[in-house]
């Protein structure tokens, strides 16, 4: 039953993503859809975040280091009823709280302003460090893109997190294999990302980023690992659950037209998959 609920929530998050990007005729659907199951699990089963404590920072926190997937973050906050779906038409429009890349001061529940790749993971390191200073049990989660791992700062952050033994930090790499200009191994091969993180001193866990049992196993292993941070390498599909977007890097930062929007919604309404 729990798994059915998570699937339904994830489908709703995906619908929010498509609604936002379609309304704005702008935004990043591909990498938002690929991370939807992981983020749904985080917000519904892993993190201690809810409408009541959303504006506090005395709770688990999530940094969307791949800030261009903002529809994913806004979509999950809507599904958690922390922000209203009434905001959907304002996404990327003037005077909106829903900036193209997230602003922590505009949106309740957004834990860090991100968008410049590589910086979010460092911010998450800072939050985890603060929790250590305060002896706080709260945990910090970050989601990175696989293409984002081409940024040198990711590895500076990886070095620092291991150096300070931040076992309260868990980074997820949304490994969908594609970036704006194409296959990550063609553009600038960042692989093997898992071995690199391991070499930097991290605990590394592999999961299927669309299988909730496997996602649960990954976060359980991260929580149980002491003395070092955990990186979860999540194998995902860019554009997941919208058949014509799946595995096509062309959908990294392009909005669907009306016909494509209807087709996308049919995909999501049809299978609940």
């Amino acid at each position: 039953m729990v798994r059915m609920n998570l699937k339904e929530h994830a489908t709703n998050v995906r619908k929010n993503i498509i609604d936002m990007v379609f309304a704005a005729q702008s935004g990043h659907p591909g990498g938002s859809l690929s991370g939807a199951d992981i983020v749904t699990y985080l917000y519904f089963d892993e993190m201690n975040i809810n409408k009541e404590n959303a504006s506090s920072n005395n709770r688990d926190r999530f940094v969307l280091s791949k800030g261009h997937a903002s529809p994913l973050l806004y979509g999950i906050l809507m599904e958690k009823e922390i922000i209203s779906t009434d905001l959907i038409p304002t996404f990327r429009q003037v005077d909106s709280k829903l900036q193209g890349h997230p602003n922590m001061n505009y949106v309740e529940g957004v834990d860090m302003s991100t968008g410049s790749l590589g910086q979010g993971i460092s911010c998450a390191v800072g939050m985890a460090l603060a929790n250590k200073v305060d002896n706080s049990p709260n945990r910090v989660y970050a989601m990175l893109g696989d293409g984002e791992c081409e940024e040198g700062q990711v590895w500076e952050a990886a070095m620092a997190a291991a150096h300070y033994k931040l076992d309260n930090l868990c980074a997820v790499v949304d490994f969908n294999g594609l970036q704006i200009d194409g296959d990550i191994t063609d553009v600038m091969n960042p692989t093997p990302i898992d071995e690199k993180f391991a070499a930097f001193g991290w605990n590394v866990v592999h999961i299927d980023g669309h299988d909730f049992d496997d996602i649960r196993r990954g976060f359980d292993e991260a929580r149980n690992c002491k003395g070092k941070p955990t990186m979860i390498l999540a194998k995902t599909t860019k554009g997941k659950c919208v058949s014509f977007m799946e595995g096509d890097y062309g959908w990294h930062g392009v909005a669907p037209n009306k016909e494509q929007y209807d087709a996308a919604m049919a995909c999501l309404t049809g299978g609940n998959k």
Partner: protein
């Protein structure tokens, strides 16, 4: 009295602050002995983190700490703090208006022997251009202590520009720092010299070389600049001369020109580094060569007295 570098006063002040305030965290990038944050580390080691030679990461980590209710003092050389980590300061710290105080030492030509790669003469311009950022440059140890304590109470990001070389004390023990206010050190006539950092001492040191009695102003807050005082100076003097150990593009001179541009009151002469890189040398020799010592200031000012 022995000369004291502003970075030394920073270290001493921070060592007290980190003990007094439980939410102060200090970050450094492998330069603790040079930036003097080692004093804070010795005072409260569990609140000091060495982030290694990775300034970009350090600034974003500072942002994460600040997003967790900490007031973060993050230090490196001005070149690598404002220069290398510019975009992290802009996007991780200033855009979300987080409580990070970037305290950058070894600013300007007087880094000396290390030469151009380490002589930041663009940092004021870079930091001043970022929304939400406030920019300060103390001239002596007294003012440094006052500013380091003052920025703790400012809600949001601050950039404090500090020097490597020892400087004479200008201010008295009872000096109180006022945010955004210039300080008139000598009230004179015809020429108003507006200086910042150790150029204040160079201007004061030219006293016997002046052919008259120019006004001398210390400008410790470069952003927000004291527009009211500048307008007053412009109305009561023939010319304003700005002096800074920074490029004439975008620094104190730039700020003064911008503040007065629409008022059309008096000519403004900018003394600084003339759109060029520095070089190795003893600080005094460099100030002489780049015409930023007392003699050069007197030569320039005397043409208007």
């Amino acid at each position: 009295m022995a000369k004291v570098a502003t970075r030394e006063a920073y270290g001493k002040t921070l060592a007290k602050l980190v003990v007094e305030k439980d939410n102060v965290i200090v970050l450094d990038a492998d330069l603790t002995k040079s930036t003097k944050t080692i004093e804070a580390k010795n005072a409260r080691p569990e609140h000091h983190f060495n982030m290694g030679i990775a300034e970009g990461n350090m600034m974003s980590v500072a942002a994460g700490l600040a997003a967790s209710n900490k007031v973060v003092y993050a230090s490196s050389f001005a070149m690598f703090a404002a220069g290398r980590a510019f975009e992290q300061i802009r996007n991780s710290i200033c855009y979300p208006k987080l409580n990070v105080k970037v305290c950058a030492t070894h600013a300007g030509l007087t880094v000396g022997e290390d030469g151009a790669s380490h002589q930041s003469v663009e940092d004021i311009a870079l930091m001043r251009a970022i929304p939400n950022m406030k920019v300060f440059q103390p001239c002596d140890d007294i003012e440094t202590a006052a500013i380091i304590n003052a920025v703790y109470d400012i809600d949001g990001p601050c950039y404090v520009r500090l020097g490597r070389s020892g400087v004479e004390r200008v201010n008295k023990e009872d000096y109180t720092f006022e945010l955004g206010k210039g300080v008139i050190l000598n009230k004179g006539e015809k020429v108003a010299i507006v200086a910042t950092g150790m150029m204040v001492q160079e201007a004061l040191g030219a006293k016997d070389l002046f052919k008259g009695n120019p006004t001398i102003v210390n400008m410790p807050t470069i952003k927000p600049i004291d527009t009211d005082l500048l307008i007053d100076l412009a109305k009561t003097h023939d010319v304003i001369v700005t002096v800074e150990e920074h490029s004439i593009i975008g620094g104190l001179g730039g700020a003064v020109v911008e503040a007065l541009a629409e008022h059309n009151l008096c000519p403004i002469i900018r003394m600084g580094v003339n759109d060029t890189f520095g070089e190795s040398g003893k600080p005094a020799d460099l100030l002489k060569k780049y015409r930023l010592d007392s003699q050069a200031i007197a030569n320039k000012v005397n043409t208007y007295l």
